[in-house]
Amino acid sequence: MKAKHQRLILVVIALVAILGAGLLAAWSLRNQANYFYLPEQMAAEPPAVGQAVRLGGMVQKGSISTEADGVTVNFMVTGNTADAIPVRYSGILPDLFVEGSGVVAEGSLGPDGVFLATNLLAKHDENYVPKELEGMGTEQAAKVAADTTVGLK
């Protein structure tokens, strides 16, 4: 085998592997990417039950209630319209999680229409504004963006 051929074979193998990685990435990104929903979008076109998505909006006033176990919280998330999505979350709430503040919940929609959050992204500094809540369009969105949440990382 000539030196040139060996180099060619190496290049081809490397290209095939990298292309394979690229295709694999493209394919699984389509399936695994975690889409962001506003409450009205989730009400209009709900994602498949169990699919990992993110829900972002405002915590409806007077909707937060804690269950008897002391760690499970139920609340409603609203957006620009009257649609409200019920959310259930078990865990330690972010410190600035209060009624009327913005929230991004990671999780999936349950069969009963309740969004089961595995994580609530919490505000920890007023300088950080989450990408998801930018450009929501209304005056309310501006308020949401102003005092809202981002991931702790």
């Binding site: 060996q6 990685a21 975690n34 760690v71 330690i92 709430l93 950080y128 990408k131 991931g151």
Partner: protein, 661 residues
């Protein structure tokens, strides 16, 4: 005064970077014939520039130490009431300061290269330093034109706004400087690669010069990532050690490229093969650290690392990124054909195994890169997504598992050509450990696939790491070989920790009244009391948890929920109980209306092994550097001695003996 000295030093350093560039280029052009008159300034320019850039950084450090509130950066990021250590580390806990640190390290490594590297041909050195100066110049421009750290306020502030409390931690003293030094070490590798490519000097001698820089950068990156992972683990209070967050990926990508580069440069040094591939990886590794800087510093990502969201800065770094990476790949495309083919090797050989793993590392890099950039791409089409572990874990594992298998076998193979039959005992042993490990664990319960594979691979790799030492006299094994064995063993240790954390973690979340007890694994956790406490710049609610294992002597843990007042922000301080076989991780939450407190406790078996593994990997790298440098010094001494002897013989007028090589 301090700020003005710093700013002047920075401008002077930028001017010297221009001189270094011009003079280096002159050195490159004075190929034959008398040296160009400008060429003599290259090395001094690099060294003086290093001194000036470091001086500028020290000036900023001083301004933070004394909290000079007339400087805008200090006023917006520091506070006079902060403990001194956080005042100092706060120097790089902001955009401008961290960029100044980056530039300081860049100039310092350029200075070191200019001062101590005498092995390369002068032309190659000139080209290398010219490229280094060019890279530095871009960052000086960035600092001076768009993020001046020394900007004065018209009226000094009365008090500073303080530092993000999440950053008020000893982690800030370790994680950013090591990571930056690693990023920047890759810039030297990049400059060397460019220098060698421009002067057609891609050969083993060049690889031996490049190797310590690559190894050093890689060790620092490894330590930086390990420290960052542990910091995030205990500081964020989520109990996770890796989130596949874009900024984490930004540090992982250069590490993957540097790992591939380090192995490939070793092949080039030892066997004179993989010449173009090494150069390409050198370019790729630095591109990844530039991309990392862009992702973290430009504000395209919202994160605790993105200090300032300023579109001008983002586009500036993007332009630099395009200029350097585009330029480098153009030179590469133009010159790669001129690099002569290296030595050949069979598919089954140590080179073959290294090439395979290089390709696998590049594939993982592609997976991480695409997953990191995908949300940015879709955003252009107004679709908002985030990409997390459900994508990264399986997609990376598809390439990581074959890589680990080859990594177990590769060091056992001979250079150039080998037969699998020669190492059939070792192969059988590795396969038996892998299968045995998986079978043993599955016997005890049902676990997810990836942790299960991880446990099997960890068992096989731990033994395979030391197989290359079998049958050798251990005292005579070169230090660099020990380094390899220990680093590979470190991979097994880290993998074991990750798999155990994934498979066996126990979690308990409950609301507990004072006096109540909860059970996690074989730990009984009793909430004794909850009391308010205060620190220098925070107040907190502190829980006293009595933790006893299997009815033994209780240990007190005190997780806190802290409230900082400047800037106003709340953080959760986890409490950790470290045992040899794992860690208990406790966080306190809010108080429920009925007076109970939320407590979240995890028992994470062997989780500490992840970071022990990281440290072992870095230790292996350090041993490899020590070993290589010692051999190199010895060789140089022998060469000088031989020359002296030959000169003596010439003086005696006897026939010169022909050297063996």
């Amino acid at each position: 005064m301090i700020a003005e000295i710093g700013l002047a030093a920075l401008w002077l350093a930028a001017a010297l970077a221009v001189l270094q560039m011009v003079s280096g280029a002159a050195m490159l052009r004075s190929a034959d014939g008398p040296p160009h008159p400008l060429a003599i300034y290259t090395r001094p320019a690099a060294i003086v520039q290093a001194v000036l850039a470091v001086l500028a950084f020290l000036m900023l450090l001083w301004a933070f130490a004394v909290t000079d509130l007339s400087i805008k950066l200090v006023a917006t990021n520091s506070h006079s009431m902060k403990p001194l250590i956080y005042k100092l580390t706060g120097t790089w806990g902001n955009h401008e300061g961290s960029m100044l640190l980056w530039v300081g390290v860049l100039a310092a490594s350029g200075g070191l290269l200019a001062a101590f590297e005498k092995r390369l041909p002068e032309r190659t050195m000139g080209a290398t330093l010219a490229v280094q100066g060019f890279v530095a110049l871009g960052f000086y421009a960035f600092l001076l034109l768009s993020s001046n750290p020394f900007e004065r306020l018209p009226v000094p502030a009365i008090e500073g706004t303080g530092l993000n409390p999440l950053l008020q931690d000893i982690g800030l003293a370790i994680h950013p400087p090591t990571l930056y030094a690693g990023y920047v070490g890759l810039s030297v590798a990049f400059s060397l690669a460019m220098g060698a490519l421009l002067t057609r000097e891609v050969n083993p001698a060049f690889a031996r010069v490049m190797r310590p820089w690559v190894l050093g950068a890689w060790v620092l990156l490894t330590l930086g990532i390990t420290a960052g992972s542990y910091w995030a683990y205990y500081e964020l209070g989520w109990g996770g050690w890796w989130f596949w967050d874009p900024v984490e990926n930004a540090s992982l990508m250069p590490w993957l490229a540097a790992t591939a580069l380090m192995h490939s440069v070793s092949v080039l040094a030892a066997r004179d093969a993989l010449r173009t591939w090494t150069i390409m990886l050198g370019v790729l590794a630095f591109s990844m650290s530039m991309l990392g800087t862009f992702l973290v510093r430009s504000g395209v990502l919202t994160s605790v690392h993105a200090f300032a969201v300023d579109p001008e800065r983002g586009s500036f770094i993007l332009a630099l990124l395009g200029l350097y990476i585009g330029g480098a790949f153009t030179i590469f495309a133009l010159r790669a054909g001129a690099v002569a083919e290296g030595k050949r090797f069979a598919a089954v050989s140590r080179e073959g195994a290294l090439v395979f793993n290089n390709v696998m590392l590049s594939a993982i890099l592609a997976i991480v890169l695409l997953g990191t950039l995908y949300p940015l791409l879709t955003e252009a089409f107004d679709v908002r997504v985030s990409v997390g572990p459900p994508y990264f874990n399986p997609a990376a594992a598809i390439f990581a598992v074959p890589m680990f298998l080859v990594m177990a076998v590769g060091p056992l193979l001979r250079w150039k050509e080998d037969k699998p039959a020669r190492i059939q005992f070792e192969l059988a042993l590795i396969a038996a450990l892998l299968i045995g490990g998986i079978a043993l664990v599955s016997f005890f319960g049902r676990f997810p696939l990836l942790p299960l594979l991880g446990l099997g691979l960890a068992a096989a790799l731990a033994v395979a790491a030391f197989l290359p030492l079998r049958g050798r006299k251990l005292t005579r094994v070169p230090v660099a070989t020990w380094g390899m064995a220990i680093a590979h063993f470190g991979v097994a240790v880290a993998l074991f920790g990750m798999a155990c954390e994934g498979a066996f973690t126990k979690e308990r979340l409950a609301a507990v009244a004072p006096g109540g007890t909860e059970q996690v694994g074989d730990f009984a956790v009793t909430l004794e009391s909850v009391t308010p406490v205060a620190g220098p710049n925070w107040t907190a609610i502190e829980a006293r948890l009595a933790v006893s294992r299997g009815g033994g002597e209780p240990v007190i843990l005190t997780p806190q929920a802290r409230n900082f007042w400047s800037p106003p922000q709340a953080t959760s301080e986890s409490a950790l109980l470290t045992r040899w076989d794992g860690q208990l991780y406790a966080v306190i939450g809010n108080q429920a209306e009925d007076g109970r407190w939320q407590i979240r406790v995890w028992w994470k078996p062997f989780v500490t092994f992840i970071w022990y593994g990281g440290m072992l990997i870095a230790l292996g790298g350090v041993l490899a550097i020590v070993g290589r440098v010692r051999v190199d010094v010895k060789r140089r001494k022998a060469v000088t001695k031989g020359e002296a002897r030959r000169a003596d013989l010439d003086a005696l007028g006897t026939a010169t003996p022909v050297p063996a090589e």
